[in-house]
Symmetry: C2
Subunit: 302 residues, 2 copies
């Protein structure tokens, strides 16, 4: 029923010339469910890498890990309107679909799931997944409805793709923690695999939104990672008070004339703010540079 | 890994003496997922009948249909605290677990999924599924949080049991419509099968809560179905105005000194109130009799 897909699943064999093959694109949940069953029955595990396209090295690290660890790897490409608020950058979010498909093909992805907005949000759509305690802080107040949109679309992607494992980047840390909680709470049986943030040579975290930065803004965006590294440096020197570390990070942002949304030190699992670096925790931040909102975070190990 | 279960799956063979076998009880989502995979790989479809136990003839009609239509049928038994509000009857909800198991065994159910409250709602649980537009009317205002609890637990049961079909009674009509919408919206790939309300000889809809009615209350509870039948009778005589049908039904309830919560004529899919009986619609009602809240509904065909 899916000859092109099953064929493209063999791309990973090194003797096979994958350049001759296209990766198959599935656009309906029903067909995706059927194909997922085929993949899982042929050989588990099935890995899923949910993306909004505009693939960069960060996504590539997730895709490569999924392809290497799983018998089949599906990449979903869907720019999810439900996670963009009014006035956010849905319209300017970069689209590079053909290039993304080429990347997936080259990496030996088994299938690409790329439903249309109409397929995902049919007339009368009104079912929402929420994780209030993890959505309320950090990016929550600034982006009302964002995490409801994220949790809902990921629940839908999990229903259609039925993955054994799903790969998420640590770059979107609040999202990662929230999805992990959702998968656990709703008994989804999906192992959430987190992958380290991939950075440009100058420290800037890879993000599809970076292409929207002008030259000067791109320069100023370095202040986010500089702030995080500075905080970690201070921690290494023995400073465990969150307020001091936060102040040091904020100074880097302020120097670069960046509009700070928040800088916090939080528990890695609950995202509760901490006064002292202890146990497993992270420094997380969001800032606006011109019209572009960027986030970044780093692990703080006491 | 599940010898007793796989064995009990053979109960439906007529030459097999099912009296010798116990039905296996699964208490963890992870084990249920494994077993569901086994069932579905052996032979689809897999049917699920979600219940809160205290099984009566209404449940039996669902179970029998699932067993007859599906290669494997799972019955879940879980009294879900999340769908009971403060002051509701969680503590007095009837429990007849051993008897329920016996019924499932006799009916040839493949497995019973009966997780504990701790398994279903682990520490830190905070993920909720909501269908606001279908939860806001009818029983919604009177039972805040109820449908959120229902949608969430059913999403969890679907994740663990992975049914191809799930069987729900028309008795809980708002729940049925809401679950159908959830399954569609979240791409769950579960066909929601609705089964007609089973009634006592005197017309009263079967409900686990009926056992809580005292003799006089039980007598008064007949007014619900009497009201519905009266409305349908009037419709048959050519009266299509919802207000007139509702008034006739309310009179039956009032005569029996029943405390009316609502009586409405609504669209069968959207649950939007209608002024005239047209297309596919239903009369739905809720009333309190002593400490017991009862609901009932009927299809109105113009």
């Amino acid at each position: 029923m899916f000859p092109r897909v099953l064929f493209s699943g063999t791309c990973r064999l090194p003797e096979f010339n994958s350049m001759d093959l296209a990766v198959d694109v599935i656009d309906s949940p029903a067909r995706m469910r059927e194909l997922s069953d085929t993949f899982r029955e042929a050989a588990p595990p099935l890995g899923l890498v949910p993306t909004m396209g505009a693939l960069h090295e960060g996504h590539l690290s997730l895709i490569r890990r999924a392809v290497s660890e799983c018998a089949s790897a599906v990449v979903s490409i869907f720019v999810n309107p439900a996670q963009f608020g009014p006035g956010e950058d849905l319209d300017t979010y970069p689209h590079t679909f053909e290039k993304d498909l080429e990347v997936c093909r080259e990496e030996g992805v088994s299938a690409v799931y790329a439903p249309s907005v109409g397929q995902m949000y049919a007339k009368g759509f009104d079912t929402w997944v929420e994780v209030p305690s993890l959505a309320s802080g950090l990016c929550g107040p600034c982006r009302p409805g964002h995490f409801r949109g994220v949790a809902t679309v990921v629940a839908k992607l999990f229903s259609a793709c039925k993955p054994d494992r799903a790969y998420f980047g640590e770059k979107d840390y609040q999202q990662l923690v929230l999805i992990r909680r959702m998968a656990r709470d709703l008994d989804m049986g999906v192992e959430i695999v987190s992958c380290p943030t991939v950075r440009e040579k100058d420290g800037v975290a890879m993000s599809s939104r970076n292409v929207n930065l002008r030259r000067e803004e791109r320069e100023n965006s370095r202040s986010l990672s500089r702030g995080l590294f500075r905080a970690r440096e201070l921690l290494g020197e023995g400073e465990a008070r969150a307020a001091v570390l936060i102040q040091a990070a904020r100074e880097e942002l302020t120097k670069a004339c960046v509009e700070i949304d928040y800088v916090e030190v939080v528990d890695s699992e609950t995202l509760a703010p901490l006064e002292t670096v202890q146990g497993s925790c992270r420094m997380v931040m969001a800032a606006k540079i011109g019209a572009t909102r960027l986030i970044d975070n780093i692990s703080l190990v006491p």
